[in-house]
């Protein structure tokens, strides 16, 4: 019995600690807050309206997402300076998703239930969006997701202000086939976007007369591309379609150049390299390669001139804009316009009013498609210049209607 006595005896004090811990778990878990109502509903009382800004400010995704937060905060400031929305100032509540998907879900829940945010702007990776989706659907919240993605989704509680595949990938593949060559080598990081995108590209290649030279995936964070480049050399493709993510791009392009492959030998078209990423990779090794987007910092519109100027003024001359940054900026304006039209912050009212909302965005006019809550966007292809900027070589002329399920493309029939 001594053992038992010892076990219990050692820890008498714990009972007291338990009470303290319980209080901690309750209180610390949520910072100073007023005990809110059980049911979340956009809080429209007072002079301000709260919105959430939810991006990864730490962890591996912080590299990309911090700029989106900056753009969203800038748009909010501009709107506030202009008198706000429905006469109310927008009060942004910034949260860190920490590159961790359950954290995104947890923070989304917090923004909706505790802060009663009228809308949340956030996310980058598909995984973070997928994690937040059920939260927004269950709490009838509103998420504005500003990054190009793989399509095949249309949640009633999400507005997608980045491109879906038919506004970025599909036209770029057509352009490559017409201008650069028929033989494609697909490389991507091993996760959902590249795999899904490549599935669509393969179907499109088959339908439009291209050939598949190879398809390779590398784990996220992979940095040795020597073997993959050997494979590319063996297959001698004319085009490399690149859906690598983040850091891997740096390693890939550096090592591609070392292997003696230049833009003249094989064209690389990327869909995840914007102006900011170019700076991290180094312009010298990217010059002459291509990227497909809906916006470049060099896009020639009066709105863009102003946008770039104020972004640099707000965050420093050395900062650059880019497609996701612009889409994040647009998201805030589109939401504000929809609220004004609805005359209410209520999610259902805003959703009902959103269809057809237009915004003269830096990258050209964008319009919300009421059917799938994506936006009409102009597709663009740019060539990377020695100064780290893009020279636009092609655009779709007019905004392309979003088609997340590729329903209007016969070759895509078997895909979903």
């Amino acid at each position: 019995m001594t053992g038992i006595k010892k076990f219990w005896g050692r820890q008498t004090i714990i009972a007291a600690v338990s009470a303290a811990a319980l209080a901690l778990s309750g209180c610390a878990a949520s910072s100073a807050l007023n005990e809110g109502e059980e049911k979340p509903a956009a809080d429209t009382g007072g002079d301000t309206v709260k919105v959430g800004v939810l991006h990864s400010l730490s962890g591996t995704m912080a590299i990309s997402e911090v700029s989106l937060r900056d753009a969203e905060l800038m748009a909010i400031e501009e709107i506030n300076a202009d008198g706000g929305v429905l006469g109310k100032q927008i009060e942004p509540i910034v949260e860190d998703g920490a590159s961790d998907w359950p954290t995104f879900a947890e923070k989304a829940k917090k923004l909706l239930q505790k802060d009663e945010a009228a809308a949340v702007f956030g996310g980058w990776t598909s995984a973070s969006r997928k994690a937040m989706l059920p939260v927004f659907e269950q709490n009838n919240g509103l998420l504005w997701y500003p990054v190009q993605y793989e399509g095949m989704e249309s949640s009633p509680n999400i507005f997608y202000t980045g491109a879906t595949t038919n506004q970025q990938i599909v036209p770029s593949v057509t352009w490559l086939l017409e201008n650069k060559g028929k033989s494609f080598f697909l490389i991507g990081s091993d996760y959902v976007f590249p795999r899904t995108a490549n599935k669509e590209i393969k179907a499109q290649l088959e339908a439009e007369g291209g050939t598949l030279a190879g398809e390779e995936y590398t784990p996220l964070g992979h940095t040795d591309y020597s073997t993959l480049i050997s494979k590319i050399k063996e297959k001698k493709p004319e085009v490399i379609y690149n859906t690598l993510n983040g850091d891997s791009n740096v390693a890939f392009f550096k090592q591609l150049k070392d292997a003696g492959i230049t833009a003249d030998d094989i064209t690389v078209l990327s869909v995840s390299i914007a102006e900011e990423e170019i700076r991290g990779i180094g312009t010298d090794i990217l010059t002459g390669h291509y990227a497909a987007w809906n916006y470049f910092q060099t896009t020639d519109t009066p709105e863009n001139e102003k946008f770039v100027a104020s972004y640099k003024e707000a965050y420093g001359d050395d900062r650059v804009t880019g497609d996701p940054i612009e889409a994040a900026y647009n998201a805030v304006y589109l939401w504000a316009a929809a609220v004004e039209k609805a005359g209410s912050f209520e999610v259902d009212a805003v959703k009902a009013a959103a269809g057809g909302i237009e915004f003269k965005a830096p990258g050209g006019t964008v319009t919300i498609d009421g059917d799938n809550q994506h936006t009409y966007k102009t597709a663009r292809i740019g060539e990377i210049q020695a100064d780290g900027q893009f020279k636009e070589v092609w655009n779709s002329g007019e905004p392309v209607k979003p088609d997340p399920y590729l329903e209007t493309y016969p070759w895509a029939e078997g895909l979903n």
């Binding site: 550096k254 070392d258 991290g280």
Partner: protein
């Protein structure tokens, strides 16, 4: 045929990169038995040092001399890594020599702090380092291209290895280090200051991580998280090679490099990673002491 040569070369190249990464650990972990999870962040520190040196050269040094920034960056990366290691040893590690599992946890905390510090100083996005132009291009033999950068890294790894070997075997300071790591109490009773030797050994190991970081800048990204990509690999190499054996570390790095590239060539990069790590786990079941081991692993 060119493919075979290229792949063989790729294997050696990857092995040499892994060796550079693991060489510092071979000292701090292999000889000193300290689990330093912040080793990856010392690699990161070396990479950022290279970036800073490059920035300094582009601002203050005539353009004609710019290409030599890299020559200056290598010893500076070593010094920064060594300095960080020295501070870490003096403030934290020396209290934890008898608690290896705890040093693992504490240094993990250090690595979190260093990563965040890098983000605060250099910003969240990656920074770019332009490799010196004398490393551009490659040697073409029989249709296979051997990039100069990779040849350079192989050479650098070899030089570090040899320098380390000479230091440990041929200098008085190095022999003291060996003596302390082999038998602490005996060495100290012979008048060796174990405190000094510990600090020096840890600093050298960390400095080597700095050099690895400097080398990585010419091949890959420079950001706050690069340390995390390599840390597990580095530990696996040292364990696989055999604790306390530098030669074992070389074998470990080269065999992982070769296996990795061969597996990647036949399958894909993801499956190659799975195969390599599964192979390591399986191998250690049969030979828990690693390929070569200087000491029998004491049981208690």
């Amino acid at each position: 045929m060119a493919v075979v040569f290229t792949q063989l070369f790729n294997g050696i190249s990857l092995g040499s990169i892994l060796l550079l990464i693991a060489l510092g650990l071979a000292i701090t972990f292999g000889l000193m038995n300290v689990i330093n999870m912040a080793h990856g962040e010392f690699i990161m520190a070396g990479a950022y040092t290279t970036y800073v040196v490059q920035q300094a050269f582009s601002h203050y040094v005539p353009a004609a001399l710019f290409d030599y920034y890299y020559i200056a960056a290598i010893p500076l990366s070593f010094l920064i890594g060594a300095l960080l290691g020295f501070i870490l040893e003096k403030t934290l590690i020396r209290f934890l020599y008898h608690r290896p599992l705890d040093s693992l946890l504490a240094t993990w905390g250090v690595s979190l702090i260093l990563q965040q510090a890098a983000r605060s100083i250099f910003g969240a996005p990656n920074v770019a380092v332009t490799a010196p132009s004398w490393l551009d291009g490659g040697l073409t033999i029989a249709g296979a291209v051997f990039p100069y950068k990779r040849l350079f890294i192989i050479a650098l790894a070899a030089v570090c290895m040899i320098a380390l070997y000479l230091y440990l075997d041929k200098t008085a300071a190095g022999r003291k280090m060996r003596a302390v790591t082999l038998n602490r109490s005996m060495a100290s009773s012979l008048g060796v200051s174990t405190k000094k030797v510990d600090a020096a050994a840890f600093a050298i190991g960390s400095g080597l991580a700095g050099i690895a970081g400097c080398a990585l800048t010419i091949l890959g990204p420079i950001g706050s998280t690069i340390g995390m990509y390599y840390i597990v690999d580095a530990f696996m190499i040292v364990i696989l090679g055999g604790i306390g054996s530098l030669v074992g570390t070389v074998f470990g790095a080269l065999s992982i490099g070769m296996l990795g590239t061969v597996a990647e060539f036949w399958t894909g990069a993801s499956m190659a990673k799975v195969i390599v790590f599964a192979a390591i786990i399986a191998f250690l079941q049969f030979k828990p002491a690693g390929l070569l081991s200087a000491r029998t692993r004491s049981l208690e």
